[in-house]
């Protein structure tokens, strides 16, 4: 009976400590951990935002050059079929190289499957198949291809080349090439997929 008081005291102390721990201290500790975790996430977010801002400020500082680059990109692959400018470029290249364009044939543009996104909504990359025959000497034809490849503004992908004796006989050659031009054109938006409505009881069969 002599130690009843201290024993009861210790027991009460243990009980109070447990209650304190679970009801007061631990919730606050959890709250602190959650706040610190949230702060850490926000700090990471801040760093990401700062990186993005730095990159965009760089874009802003180089806006003129970047818009020029975009203009060049849009010249390589224009928005719209832009056949007139392509024909002008072919003619200029042929004149500069010293060959004569005998014929040029465009067939229907085709959407390039698996092409990357164009960056503009409801547009797609299309290939415009083209076949051309030019008459001229061998080195003139070579120069014509060089101009198409490196001097032209429009991107031209030459798929096949055939060289044979021309109508004016050697050294005049008929060079036939076929390839593709590219363009970004508007395409109809994909129809939204809607679930077919469930038949009403009146429509349902017997």
């Amino acid at each position: 009976m002599r130690y009843r008081g201290p024993l009861v005291g210790v027991l009460v102390g243990v009980l109070l400590t447990a209650a304190y721990w679970f009801l007061l201290y631990q919730p606050r500790a959890d709250e602190q951990a959650a706040l610190q975790s949230e702060t850490a996430e926000l700090s990471a977010q801040q760093q990401q935002l700062r990186n993005d801002i730095t990159a965009l400020e760089e874009v802003q500082a180089n806006e003129v050059e970047i818009r020029q680059a975009l203009a060049r990109l849009e010249a390589y692959i224009p928005s719209g079929l832009a056949q007139p400018s392509a024909i002008r470029e072919f003619q200029q290249s042929a004149d500069a190289a010293g060959v004569e364009i005998t014929s040029v044939t465009f067939t229907e543009p085709e959407v390039v499957e698996e092409a990357p996104e164009t960056g503009e909504e409801n547009t797609a990359l299309v290939a415009i198949p083209v076949t051309m025959v030019v008459e001229g000497g061998y080195f003139q034809a070579v120069d014509f291809f060089r101009r198409l490849e490196v001097q032209g503004l429009r991107a031209v992908l030459v798929d096949s080349v055939a060289i044979a004796e021309g109508e004016d006989e050697f050294p005049s050659l008929a060079t036939t090439w076929s390839g593709q031009l590219f363009a970004v054109v508007a395409v109809p938006p994909e129809p939204a997929v809607t679930a077919s409505p469930a038949p009403s009881p009146a429509q349902a069969g017997p």
Binding site: R28, Q32, A55, E65, A69, W177
Partner: protein, 221 residues
Amino acid sequence: MSTVRVNLLPPEVEQRRRARRATFITAAALGAWLLVLALLYVLKLGDVAEARRERDQARAEVTRLQAQLDALEPFARLARQVEARNEVLAAAMATEVSWSRVLNDLSLTFPPNSSLLTLSATRAADDEAGQQTETGAVGAEGAIAAVEFSGYSVERYAPGVEVVLLRFDEVRGLFSSYLVTAAKELRGETEVTNFNGSVQLGEEAYTGRYAEGLPLVEGLQ
């Protein structure tokens, strides 16, 4: 002179006194312990308040940075446009072959005692994924285009036609030349050896010019 203290009170009184003392000490210890716990709790509340203040500051900073980023949105759109166009250009022109270089190299390598009459080169078709397939010719692994040719040499089969085949393989990108037929022929008043065959064009003929889109915008985010 020593004194002897004699407690004449009943022993129960002393026991009660000791019990009261123990109870008092226990209560004091318990109270002190509760004070310690309260102090710890107050400290913890301070830590929580500090953590909340830091969180609020970080949140405010994020809001400020987000507003700054939003103000730069037109430039983000510009960067996305350039990036997308670069990717489109790179994809479209991935299989570009420099035919001018191939034809020029061929002219520089071709033997002067021979002449080509026809030359036809066709790039192998792209597969469903847009990747170019090979020509499929025997001994032409890695070929991206088949080149068919015909011509003549004023020399005989050897060294005339032999050198033509050897020279084809010396042209950068061309390999695996293959003679189909060769025959004597009278061309004007000159006896020549005509020939026709094929040669393969390898992957090194790709220009790779557009691999990163336009060189000027390389390194954009």
